[in-house]
Symmetry: C2
Subunit: 95 residues, 2 copies
């Protein structure tokens, strides 16, 4: 299992647009083979911080996800609304 | 539901000690009322980055957790092993 925490700081005034764009991305990603979890969270103190928390069964599943139509069509649009972004890949610390 | 992402950068040479200390904390926290998820993850690129991903049913459950014996006895020891830490509280972006 691989967990992904992808934190986005969205440009001023672009949060609603960012959220709208992610609806389809989330719905379709959740249905992908090897997707355990895929959700978007909004920081309670900093509403311009929007963070994906994802869990995937394998690296192969992540590769497929990155090549999916919904990823390649939506993620570039999301990135345009970002001031900055930071992505971390994780493994469970205790196995 | 409230999600917590608590990222710790552990001091050089202290990762194993940090991980050992978290075993009991994780086991007991997972059993708490209102705990949906409580796990520790290790960054694949930066093994000194250890991140808790937690999900709780309510603020009340988090308050109880912070006052639990396992929290008040173990978390201060963990913090001593930290170079730095960062905690974010999140709500689901789409409800």
């Amino acid at each position: 299992m691989i967990a992904i925490v992808s934190r986005n700081t969205v440009k001023e005034g672009k949060v609603e647009e960012f959220k709208k764009l992610t609806v389809e991305l989330i719905e379709k990603s959740q249905k992908e083979e090897g997707c355990i979890e895929y959700n978007l969270y909004q920081d309670l103190k900093n509403p311009r911080t929007l963070t994906f928390i994802e869990k995937w069964e394998s690296e192969e599943a992540i590769e497929k996800h990155k090549n999916s139509k919904h990823f390649t069509s939506i993620v570039p649009k999301i990135k345009e609304l970002n001031e900055s972004g930071e992505l971390s890949l994780y493994d469970l610390a205790h196995k």
